[in-house]
Symmetry: C2
Subunit: 244 residues, 2 copies
């Protein structure tokens, strides 16, 4: 790998350059393997000779380049994910309104990439296939988001939208929102379809989005902790939602 190529890969850790090139890196054997069988367009695969050999059939229609582990850890954001790194084409933010038959997760100004990645994995586990993020939320293509999602970024469609504008034009649907003083979620009767809104890590759901909530819900607290991490709260709420 020459210096120019290395610089190009490293530049894609920054949102500005991902947007410019419409390309994003995916690191680590598991994530790359999930990417190859997804509907993303894969531009190139850098991998160790051992990885290329082990997955020769799967890789036959892709542009592959053998590299060393040292080159991979230089080119990527993570030192330890060093069997493979792929570049894929970013998708258009071709937002489609949620169908009336589905559950959609809405993230209002979520900022931590690890949280977004973990929430994608949780959404994927609970069969939620669409996530709508407010425009100022952390970038889906951030390498930490991709890594934390453990491959789920390939299955959960994620869109960015102005949430007030979005909610203004939807058909009437239940919109559940995680708030501090809502109904105890253990007593909530969830509908099978609709929206579940989760707010910012420290400030919760914004005042602009709150008017669109049809039901405020809260995870009951039994002990001394002041709060739960945003991804932990997302998991508990999705579990309660799926229980009905």
């Amino acid at each position: 790998m020459d210096k120019k190529q290395l610089q190009f890969f490293k530049s894609l850790q920054i949102k500005k350059y991902r947007t410019l090139h419409q390309s994003f890196p995916v690191e680590g054997a598991k994530s790359v393997l999930e990417l190859l069988t997804s509907d993303f367009i894969v531009e190139t695969v850098l991998a160790t000779p051992a990885f290329l050999e082990q997955h020769v059939a799967l890789l036959q229609n892709f542009d592959c380049q053998p590299v060393t582990e040292a080159e991979l850890s230089q080119a990527g954001a993570f030192e330890t994910n060093n069997a493979a790194l792929a570049l894929a084409r970013m998708k258009d933010n071709d937002f489609q309104q949620a169908e009336e038959s589905e559950m959609v997760l809405v993230l209002d100004n979520l900022r931590d990439p690890g949280n977004l990645g973990t929430i994608l994995r949780i959404a994927d586990w609970y069969g939620v296939s669409k996530v709508i993020c407010s425009e100022e939320s952390v970038d889906f293509y951030n390498p930490k988001v991709i890594a934390a999602s453990m491959g789920s970024f390939t299955r959960v469609k994620t869109y960015y939208a102005s949430l007030p504008a979005y909610f203004r034009q939807i058909k009437p649907q239940p919109v559940f929102g995680a708030m501090l003083n809502g109904e105890n979620v253990h007593q909530t009767r969830f509908s099978e379809t609709g929206y579940l809104v989760l707010g910012n890590e420290s400030r919760g759901i914004s005042t602009e989005v709150q008017p669109f909530l049809t039901q405020k819900i809260t995870i009951p607290r039994f002990g001394g902790a002041e709060s739960l991490n945003a991804a932990i709260a997302a998991a508990i709420l999705c579990d309660n939602w799926r229980r009905g």
Copy 2:
């Protein structure tokens, strides 16, 4: 802060030296404030003049030393937690058998410090005041455990024990265990008291501990993700348990 003192603080990031000195560091304003009002013995508090001034009443009976933010980030494990750092006395592993009236979380070979810290925070939220870890689990006093617990390390008593030896001598109690092929936890009728066992991040509950489970439970999956993170699973199970 002189070089010798700095070296001493840095050494406490390593378990061997914590065990030798029976002392552990707590970093960051929130964690230090929770420590000061806990039942831990606080040996010394290093803090910025601003922190010392802001909390002068609370700090009056403690040994305090003013330091700069730069010194704090040098002395600690985290560069950003730089308002205060305290040293506290490790507690004896004075294991007390769980009372029959309580819920106890059991961690079988949990290895990731972030997971243990997050699980302590979850336990604290759900009013679980005792956690029993298998002897090879990650160290409770690891700075990443303390940081991730967000102060909950002061409220959740954590013991280390040989789990088979422990389970052999308890009175008959329900022992729920998170397994891949257990009963759907949405259908489980939990007892109010007993044990909930969570396994290792990649291998689950060990074959030595499995015979002591009285009920195997599983978080139902609705989508494509292969697994959930250990702390996420702990949160979902605690929530189901508290629902009854």
